[in-house]
Amino acid sequence: MTWDIVVIGAGAGGLSAALAAQDDHVKVLVLEREAVLGGILNQCIHNGFGLHEFEEDLTGPEYAERFIDAFHERGIDLRLETTVMGLHETRNGFVVEAFDRRAGKLDIQTRAVILSSGCYERTRGQIRIPGERPAGVMPAGSAQRYLNIEGYLVGKEVFILGSGDIGLIMARRMTLEGATVKGIAEIMPYSNGLTRNIAQCLEDFDIPLYLSHTVTDIRGADRLEGITIEAVDEDFRVIEGTKKDFAVDCLLLSVGLIPDTMVLESLDVKMHPHTRGPKVDHTFHTSVEGLFACGNALHVHDLVDDVSEESRRAGRCAKDYVRKSLGKGETQLELIAGEGIAYTVPSTIDLSRFDDLIRCAFRVKRKAQTATFKLIQDDTVIASRKARFVAPAEMEHIDIGPDDLKGGHAPVTLIMEV
């Protein structure tokens, strides 16, 4: 049997992409390595999800449930407990090499693939904290899974490095479960978490936030016994005489997420140096024909609502690709992240398919009270938008339409002016 589209991963991205891609003429198969649908949302038991998508304040599992219900109603084909090992290009599509826990190794033929495999957490090795290597140091998301799914509290005396939302959420969660959270250190002079989380996860429980601080030592033979934090200057150099020691049995790391693109290893996919996901055009098409990407596997999002919205568009584009037998567009207009902009998704616009407004996602490099985003082609501003309270932690969007393009195929640069 040959499928039209295989969707890798059934989290927020995969569910939404599959729902948009499947119809009577397009056969879609979803592969999920866990025994349940919903992905990371199952362990995100806090509320704050769905404000854009449903105009309701839902918990992660409730948000997932809405998509899972729709998914089952539509009877989309699904294989649970099936891990994708690799992808191989064939003359008219791909062979997806997968391992089903019960059926064993499978070779699945498909015309197109949507990668929606989510992201993984940066670990201690990737940020190089000096000191010993005892047990008790782990990514915050792993601790969240242990606690919320397995019912296992990973420590009693806790310190957290990194003030992203997962770190803040875990500070409250572990406190409610009886642990003492002694503090959070953030290397930046500001937190990367939502204000709401700072207020309700830290201030509510008097948990100190050490801004411009980082962990400089980890102690303990088998089990973690203590850590040291120190203040840093603007260039992140440690300031002498600022050492503070904490006796803890657990250090959680909330220091960044990276798109999980492991299954792409055997393909020659052009990757984005900043997002670390694949480069895509505005139809979510990667540099490999027939391979699409969306959700956190494409670039890490801060709101699941954005993942759902983006993945829906990716699903529609993949469906167009198989239904209309489209190739990969030859004329790609480049979209460049200019002054003040960290990256844009998409990286290019496929001009043969540029017939409607497209929504370009991007992140700024630094915080600003007010900013103007400008799209520039051939030294001419072709579109602009004003924004308030921009920050690297909050994804921004700007729309571009075919009528905006004045300079033909010349690249378009996005800049931020403050």
């Binding site: 038991i45 918990t59 409730e62 397995e150 019912g151 479960e177 204000t195 709401r196 207020a199």
Partner: protein, 115 residues
């Protein structure tokens, strides 16, 4: 006593101060005053947590309060839930406990667990 906290109504995140007489300062708009008054007279929070469950796919069932509870009752509710064990099948929004810890609020499931 002067209360000081962050307004969470919008992303600006004003630092609000409420003095003895209930006078609010630090707000950049009127919504801050409403929030500050609520926070000082009857602060409430939605509590999300888990309870034990006899499921094949998860050892914990995610739950929440059916509406926000007084902030001061959070730990009482956590304690009341420590010994609770839910049994599958559980449907989303099934009531797991009525009137938890005398708050007049129910604890409801936020996830479906069939087996």
């Amino acid at each position: 006593m002067v209360h000081e906290f962050t307004c969470i109504v919008c992303p600006v995140g004003c630092r609000l101060r409420v003095d003895k007489g209930g006078e609010v300062s630090g707000h950049k708009c009127k919504r801050g005053i409403v929030y500050a008054t609520e926070e000082t007279t009857h602060p409430t929070r939605m509590l999300t947590t888990t309870v034990k469950v006899n499921s094949r796919v998860a050892k914990r069932l995610s739950v929440r309060t059916s509406r926000p509870i007084p902030k001061a009752a959070m730990f009482d509710v956590m304690q009341a839930l420590a010994t609770v064990e839910a049994r599958v099948p559980v449907n989303i929004h099934d009531v797991i406990i009525h009137n938890v810890a005398g708050t007049d609020v129910d604890i409801i499931a936020t996830r479906r667990l069939a087996t």
